[in-house]
Assembly symmetry: D2
């Protein structure tokens, strides 16, 4: 068997324990240390995963020769500093979503990783669930045909976050998934965002995102902290088939409908395109079996594989940057009363590096 | 028993037969005639409802002394002409949605009816379903508290209409319901509309509407002709409770959740409003029993009652005009790439007449 | 086009109007008359279907030369007399379920029809729904493999019938469907019935039927008038696949699961058969598209076709007799405290005539 | 705070780890040791719960002075020997379901515990879930009125157990729950069991139990290892209200329907009891909020409380014996082809001790 890579987890708060447990169980990785400014918190976590080393000083951690990579689960505003220091120290880096607190900083992180020849990976956990892997496969092999629309709903009675609004809290999931399944990634030219703060919380608690896609298609995301019912559903409509992902229905998470509207292509005197020949397909529905696999295990394996094979991981820094650019544009749109805001072209430039 | 009012149905196409059958069965009404330019179509319908008189000339119909009112189920662009002629002839008028093809014409219809002292009613059928009547009751008695958000979804594999887009086809239902249940009616200052035409049908087949409501609340409507699954669901979130209406679940159409987020009102040094004290309620759910009653029967009764009592019907011309103003603004927003479009103030002026 | 067959409907109560409307609309049939002892009831129905002849005397009806067949929708105890008279008069007969009030009488009806060379058809309406036709096709082409178990649930808050218990009221549906889809029809050797009358209604309001099938398989039927929730679901488990029919889910009535348990067939020292090698399949789920077709139309077509082709209809008198024999045995089992009661062999004898 | 009680877990196989983890986390208990014949298995478990003592010899364990109670998670056939030895050593005992492998042995265990003045508790875990605790409360406070019927379904694609059939594997859950919620516990005079072994596994893989309850009511249990869909649902119908427990619907586990059938009580000439006046209630539905609490924690607390308060626990040995008696009678009924088998009166005798 290949020699294990060695990793440390930076940040022992909410998400860090999941990363630590997961790297600890991975055949590809040896978990070496937990790093947190709060020593007792780091010690508690270190004990839970078999008594690994505890470090409170990042510089000390990065100076260690026995560490190949770090996984960062600290607040977004610290990602940039930690990642740059780690890259400078020759460590590969995985960063919790969002990649950074600004697109510019995210851009620097991506550029630096490329320059150093190190892997920068975005922790887009959902992308490694069996359902999303299957969706990506179906979309990319053309089973749905051309994409017509994507409608994603992620609503719940959720914690009102002290530092971010509902867009930055929940939409990274939807955006990273859409980025992952679309053949070229998520590259809208503009974003329109509409948010409501009816409780006076000082930030949007209900939010809607509109993203024009290629060829007249559109993606729409609904995120909501105030819904008494929990819905996590994404519909991807295509010219051939339409897919519905209902993540809260374990008995039938994915349904592929062979239903749709067909428009004839011949014009009628060149005037009304398509209007003459509308027809409907009402075919079978198919629900593929999905393996029971934990997403974090797949993500750890992909991080290791990308390092060994010296390639970009499936959810690389550029993917994180594309998501970040959309979130930034959404915030600008929100300030502008919902008018379409241009998405920074940085995303496209980075995309070309792939 | 009160003497029956006498009505004629104008238009024997798709919706006319429903109106005819319904007025024919109503204890309040005597159905006198069917009027349609297509004589054989009118005759077929007349026979189905017991052999009433057939008229092909509107002027002839309106000249009849034995008719108190007409119900109009013709294309939207003809509503204005028919209604004005009928009002001039002293007949009360009910008009299928939308009220007219432009807000200005709708406004004239409303003004004329007021001037003539006649009833002009909008055929907002959904408002007379037991579910919507119950929602209105709950909202207006304060059971939900202040409204925080309204999210309405009406999607289906639907017929692509030759003359209208998905907004004008489906959203009148959502808008008329929201208008009906909100205490002051639907009076957003602006509307943002986002539509997609990914099939090249020449009009939006997928659409989203954003309507800012009072006090920072927001209504959102999703209409879609391309969805393989049928959803008709409206969520109304309030400070006290949240209501979910799932119209396709006959076993539990309405659910009232005693769940929500409470923000404390005391400011923390005046800096972060509400941030200090967030709490959650996770109370019981309650699903009120609903009578089995056909909506059209209730609408016919309300039309008769409003005429007899010389008052505005629950869904009067002004309600129809408010819905129409939103649709017009939505079309303008769509042309403007989704930027917020002002809703004509005509709606408010008319609202004051109530 | 073939000349239409001519039919009269006998019985204008609850079910008769459905039959009358349906034969009236069928291209295969001309509806000639409505026959009921209650003249005004017959007249009301006759008018609704276009003003056909009204007869109150059965003998007079049967003496008519212009009638080829009758459809009987009268109480079960009258089926025997009416059918024998009609067969004697040379008329083909369709009878509402159950075929008769006793197996012996049903047997005579079947024998007489055979002797006279006339069609006797059981009105097993459910068998002509698109869902059941598809289930029959799947079972009979072997898509499910060998049948392992059938579990049928038909519960609701239902009317407590004055004359019959819940078994005779509801179970004919389940039994006729099982009879229809199983390759050889429903021929259990015994039936066990368990009923409860917790309200003191004088008859079972909750009931369970157990029917041993070939090769160790078992069918089970749950019928219930006291359930606040409505369920109409049948599961048919097979060695290859398992089918679930949820009749109240119009969006996915049929689901075929490629899941199951496989037992290896090699014995372990001849001692524990199959125990050594258990494995599980967790394959895809498939939901076939079903056409929107009314069941009664298909039944009328089949009645006409069987007469023209001088063959047994798909749901012939023998099928009705098999269902009746199970119901009779169920009543005996109920009297015997739930002990297994033998099912009359008459059913098998008749079955051989097919 | 009260001094903690000290417990050892006997059996480190499938269920033992759950018990160990749970007692280890309980404020009422100190987990002292893990006992298993397989030393390495015991050591693995001991390490996971903080490094407690490992014992392979039961006698050695029971000789320890520092142990107040044991929790037994070994195969059913060993329960009797272990429990008697523990009771003889003065230890309180909790036993995994079923209580024992025969009713006689279970009876001895119960009698011995009573004689020794020690607590014998049945590990009926489901009874300590928030849903079942709420059901018990509702039934016992009379919210449902008199019980009319209970219908329980527990089906799944399940492991075919090597040593027990589907009744002994799954039905203890349903039976212990019914025993828990009914005011006097589960005391049917007879049981009828119907099982199918269509795969030739040598035991029933599909099973149905019929249990007559007081006043003409009936309980029915459907257990099934071969169902591709997972259902865990119990309906409890009462004269006032009906409760539906859908354990796989976390958003609405319990629904209480204010619907039902009312029969007037006045006889009609003494002939047809109740027949004259049937009426229906179609009232509201109510879904009580349930706390998120782990069942095993509640069970550990109850075990401790019963020891401290020198009283029977809520799920005492007598409850375990009642469930065991029904299972034994079910096996006898199965051998007798489904005929009703008498339930051993031992259950009632023991019940009187409560």
């Amino acid at each position: 068997m290949t020699k294990q890579l060695r990793i440390a987890v930076v940040g022992a708060g909410y998400w860090g324990p999941n990363l630590a447990r997961n790297f600890s169980n991975s055949p590809d990785w040896e978990l070496m240390a937990i790093c947190d400014l709060d020593k007792s918190r780091a010690e508690r976590l270190a004990q839970q995963v078999g008594g690994v080393r505890v470090v409170t000083d990042l510089a000390e951690l990065l100076a260690s020769d026995d560490i190949d990579a770090i996984a960062v689960a600290t607040p977004a505003r610290t990602h940039h500093g930690i990642a740059l220091a780690a890259l400078a120290a020759g460590k590969h880096v995985m960063v919790e979503k969002p990649l950074a607190d600004t697109g510019e900083r995210g851009r620097t992180m991506v550029d630096t990783a490329v320059a150093e020849g190190l892997v920068l990976m975005a922790d887009h956990t959902y992308c490694y669930t069996p359902a999303v892997l299957k969706i990506r496969e179906l979309v990319q092999e053309g089973a749905l045909g051309d994409i017509l629309f994507i409608d994603s709903v992620r609503i719940n009675l959720g914690l009102i976050q002290p530092d971010v609004d509902v867009f930055w809290d929940l939409a990274p999931h939807d955006l990273s998934i859409i980025d992952f399944v679309l053949p070229g990634g998520l590259k809208p030219t503009t974003v329109s965002a509409h948010g409501a703060d009816p409780l006076g919380a000082g930030k949007s608690c209900v939010g809607y995102l509109v993203l024009p896609l290629a060829n007249g298609a559109m993606a729409h995301v609904h995120v909501n902290w105030l819904s008494p019912t929990k819905i996590r559903q994404m519909v991807i409509g295509g010219t051939k088939r339409t897919l519905v992902w209902d993540d809260l229905n374990p008995q039938q998470r994915l349904s592929v409908y062979d239903r749709g509207v067909d428009l004839g292509l011949q014009a009628l005197d060149g005037v009304e395109r398509n209007a003459a020949t509308v027809s409907y397909r009402l075919g079978d529905t198919w629900s593929p079996a999905l393996p029971e696999r934990e997403a974090l295990g797949g993500m750890a394996a992909e991080f290791a594989a990308s390092i060994r094979e010296k390639r970009s991981p499936r959810t690389d820094g550029a993917a994180g940057l594309r998501v970040l650019s959309v979130l930034e544009a959404a915030s600008r749109s929100l300030e502008g009363g919902g008018s379409a805001a241009a998405v920074s072209s940085g995303a496209e430039l980075v995309g070309e590096l792939r």
